[in-house]
Symmetry: D2
Subunit: 357 residues, 4 copies
Amino acid sequence: MSGNTFGKLFTVTTFGESHGPAIGAVIDGVRPGMPLSKEDIQIELNRRRPGQSSLTTQRKEADEVEILSGMLDGKTTGTPIGLLIRNTDANPKDYEDLKNILRPGHADYAYLRKYGIRDWRGGGRASGRETALRVAAGAVAKKMLDEYGITVTAYTKQIDDIVAKNIDFAAIESNPVRCPDPEAAMLMAERIKIAKEEGDSIGGVIEVVVKNCPAGLGDPVFDKLDARLASGVMSIGAIKGVEIGDGFQSAIMKGSEFNDISTLKDGTLKSRTNHSGGISGGISNGNDVVLRAVIRPTCSIAKPQEAVTIDGKPTTMEIKGRHDPCICPRAVVVVEAMVALVMIDCLLIQKSISKTQ
Amino acid sequence: MSGNTFGKLFTVTTFGESHGPAIGAVIDGVRPGMPLSKEDIQIELNRRRPGQSSLTTQRKEADEVEILSGMLDGKTTGTPIGLLIRNTDANPKDYEDLKNILRPGHADYAYLRKYGIRDWRGGGRASGRETALRVAAGAVAKKMLDEYGITVTAYTKQIDDIVAKNIDFAAIESNPVRCPDPEAAMLMAERIKIAKEEGDSIGGVIEVVVKNCPAGLGDPVFDKLDARLASGVMSIGAIKGVEIGDGFQSAIMKGSEFNDISTLKDGTLKSRTNHSGGISGGISNGNDVVLRAVIRPTCSIAKPQEAVTIDGKPTTMEIKGRHDPCICPRAVVVVEAMVALVMIDCLLIQKSISKTQ
Amino acid sequence: MSGNTFGKLFTVTTFGESHGPAIGAVIDGVRPGMPLSKEDIQIELNRRRPGQSSLTTQRKEADEVEILSGMLDGKTTGTPIGLLIRNTDANPKDYEDLKNILRPGHADYAYLRKYGIRDWRGGGRASGRETALRVAAGAVAKKMLDEYGITVTAYTKQIDDIVAKNIDFAAIESNPVRCPDPEAAMLMAERIKIAKEEGDSIGGVIEVVVKNCPAGLGDPVFDKLDARLASGVMSIGAIKGVEIGDGFQSAIMKGSEFNDISTLKDGTLKSRTNHSGGISGGISNGNDVVLRAVIRPTCSIAKPQEAVTIDGKPTTMEIKGRHDPCICPRAVVVVEAMVALVMIDCLLIQKSISKTQ
Amino acid sequence: MSGNTFGKLFTVTTFGESHGPAIGAVIDGVRPGMPLSKEDIQIELNRRRPGQSSLTTQRKEADEVEILSGMLDGKTTGTPIGLLIRNTDANPKDYEDLKNILRPGHADYAYLRKYGIRDWRGGGRASGRETALRVAAGAVAKKMLDEYGITVTAYTKQIDDIVAKNIDFAAIESNPVRCPDPEAAMLMAERIKIAKEEGDSIGGVIEVVVKNCPAGLGDPVFDKLDARLASGVMSIGAIKGVEIGDGFQSAIMKGSEFNDISTLKDGTLKSRTNHSGGISGGISNGNDVVLRAVIRPTCSIAKPQEAVTIDGKPTTMEIKGRHDPCICPRAVVVVEAMVALVMIDCLLIQKSISKTQ
């Protein structure tokens, strides 16, 4: 109810603040008997970890995960998997100066009004640090999806006005921007560096493709697959919009243009086009599921900004904490995780539906 | 779990198919002692009702609602409110020809794969007809929000490439497109008529503004206000994308540009700009909440289309049912209802949180 | 959240008051493609219906159910099943005199304090009338369980101090008490008649047996099968206690006595005794699931009783409404339904768990 | 969904096995700004801890809790509270001999059938060890209830056939049985010692009293306060039955006897008797809430027992692990915690209901 649990059959419940002792999660609904190792999770955490390149924050967190339960002899047992990551490079002192300031773009005022108390140490629960557990849970989800041949791949599609043209999945991890188009990637990296040098930040667009998604996932009416994907992805801090298939472009299309024409072979539908992004009436139709999410420019910037104190006094502030000039390269991993969490959950729900005997 | 219930504390559970005997809903979490009449609900249903103008489908449904429970002497009692709407102009015969055809753009194949059985009569549960109950529940939600001075207003922002410029809420109901800019409205109506004459359909963008929204609504992490709004709005059939505040535009903005600079007066924050759309870190910040949703062009079109039968045979089909050439004018009412449902639910959740005594 | 929905994957949401226009339900999670008729439901409703014999209330309700959705050509479609029962013999006038009286044993005061408003017409939502929908949903659940060979059988085990000795399922419907021991049944009927003549009421115990229950149903920790059964059965108005297997008797047993000794044949466990009532560690163990529930004597009695008015004035009252001198014979059907609802839900949850591939 | 989370607005999610690295919990819904210390929780954990007296298991667990999140300067922040307890005296070797044996009375076979894999190390998730987190969460719940003056007190009411007569709350912690009647306590302790010496175990009954419970808690129909209490208490491993007020005794009472006659003073109801156990129609009525739960004799006994191996071979086994000859003295603390969790949750739900303005 308090928004710290995601999912219905495959669930992840997280806790932890940016500068508290630790962050952690409880993952539930993992199929029993699945081989799982700490490394399976660590490898994804490392992709999200701060300090990977000069394009990201310089906070030094090992983000080393400990599996506390739900395992026997390297296999899952069906009981909940407890995960723990200690915060090792927390530095609340960086935030002492900002303790009484409502930072522009941040949730400081909103939290204060919500709870009457606010953890000022690096944003507390509002920090992007909580996404580490999304990634950890997503790693487990991806492992389960893998058993069905379903893959989830996210990448940076756009930074500022630079758009990836040639999509080559193999290139994604070859550059620090996580862009599948190496040429665009170079331009994007350059653009991020400039923003950093200016003490500013920039945004972008992340695209996700789910391959081998079986038809029939998602539920009619309120739990449509697109509604669940939108909810999961939009719940990531910096994301301000989500679209499926042709998305906002469809406003200027005609029905005769947008409708995907299909063939049916051996019970499997294949469409010539994929304007619908793999979802019809809220249920997967067997084509690739395609989603895009927009990332706002990071709100923490080095540049001096006008702000207001808790007492209502105007002030000027400078943020000294360590921050990402553009969150896209690391957010790619988080978006991928959230989509994986939705997909595995919908798959388990579909499994519980018995069709005609 | 099956996606027919929306909300946590204020919930609506719906049932019913397009061409079955009736559609209905159970609304729960309404505050006891609130005056409520059938007319409060009927007035909103009439806004959504088919056959309002030449721009909408000619199906003749009175959409007359009956309140079955939860009331005593014109006041709510705190127990669930049962609503019933009989289908009076159902005409399954219109769909006999399409019984074995997987219509392009529709959910026919997806439902078949999901359930192994499909109600071919006008799309069954996949029909937009279910949205009548969203509107009915939204009417009750708006009545509750009204007690807090919170208003939710949706309107057509864009049809095809025509965009409303001057936003005058008073003008929304003055034209059949439900556009707040009368001049744009005329152009939009013209564009819809052309699409209709061509046997085709067009899409558009709906914008929603929540005024007097208190700060503190929404929950951290997975149940952010924007995530919940995205989920609610994206669950409407024809919607393919949702954005908050500057949305997709923020991809090309800088942090120094996007961050809203605010003043604090008597504990209330006011921002000079509203790039964030009234939501910071997933929690309302006291500014207007602003959301846009894109509507794909209606999938049912009169033009002949290539299609495939259930047995995999290619065919050509023409849809004879009565359909909207552009769903925006009616979808405005549905989007408004969904946003109202999210807002009242978040408000009740916030009420259950005790702050420092 | 407001307690009008039961279940997780197989859910039933109900609405309606004793003397309002109608009562109804939305059943969700029914497997698609299952043959279902109005009669399947009506036959169970008739077992619960008032006025069956001189032992029960004389209210005349046909309790005729209408199926509003979720069906196509006599088969379920996987979408929610809406059910409606009109109240035809509502007689609010019977309650006018009691409008301002807080009746002993009833929920009048509790509702007033909860909601600040109370539907005085026959108890409103607090009336046993809502159980008709539990029975209707239970009929659908039993139909699904039947496909797995699982049967749920409830009966009157005890009335006052008369206890059924010989349990013959075939005899249950042969007498108006629904007691599987015909001899005890006659004594029980006599005892109920005496209570009725005295203007008083009596209680009893209902026993339920689930046969062919597969091992593995129920979940560890908070959703143990016994916890879920207890919740479902205890939610029936007049029930004040629930026990599994040897239940309260186990307080005076030794571990060496209580532990069931078993054999394992072809992977199936069979126990010589069934002290555990078919549940070990909260999970079904393959033996019959056995539960007992105690029914308090009906609170509505004809005898004059001391009471207090809403204004705090002491008064004497007589209840003129039509009531059951002992609710057991009809409650048998409701308990059976609730157990069926729990069992099918646990079965669907178990189906969603993938074991080792 | 997997049964590892309890509650709706105040929730606790637990993880961990008896002989794994650690057990833990995430508590959510705690009011922000409440003073809370590790000691508040530790003091309750110490009451449940093994090895307190010669009457309990000799396993040596410090059960030292670590608070990982949700706190700032000694106050709760409204975000989830992560708790961690390391297992320090785990000794899986004790269970090596039993690895392939399905122990009588245990959940071994049920888990194996549920998951296809079973953590044989001390029962894994099925061990009573998980109740430590219930107690930890209950400590936080009691702290919140305390702000409303609501107290929850549990005690041993009966061991074998010895029943406490004089209930003196002050005496509960004065004896190792946690019996409020010191004389009965001595007899009970003696009885437990005998069972231990015989290598056997015995059961008992625990009673709980909630004082100062406001009227209006609990929800109609499926979430009645008694249903929720029954669910919470029955979910504790060894409990086989729950009753409210006069419970099973009411089977042999008359309505005129059972109905509590009340007075109303300053809007507060007081009843002369409390047969209903403080709950009418599923909603608290302002009287003390009274519940009893029966504890089966511990299934782990030292005596040789007949058993069966996983392969179906009959065998004889002796349990060498460290176990409680009677779980009542420690279960008192767990039952108290579960009742506290239900009460605070119902209180928060009631807070979210707006009555007439």
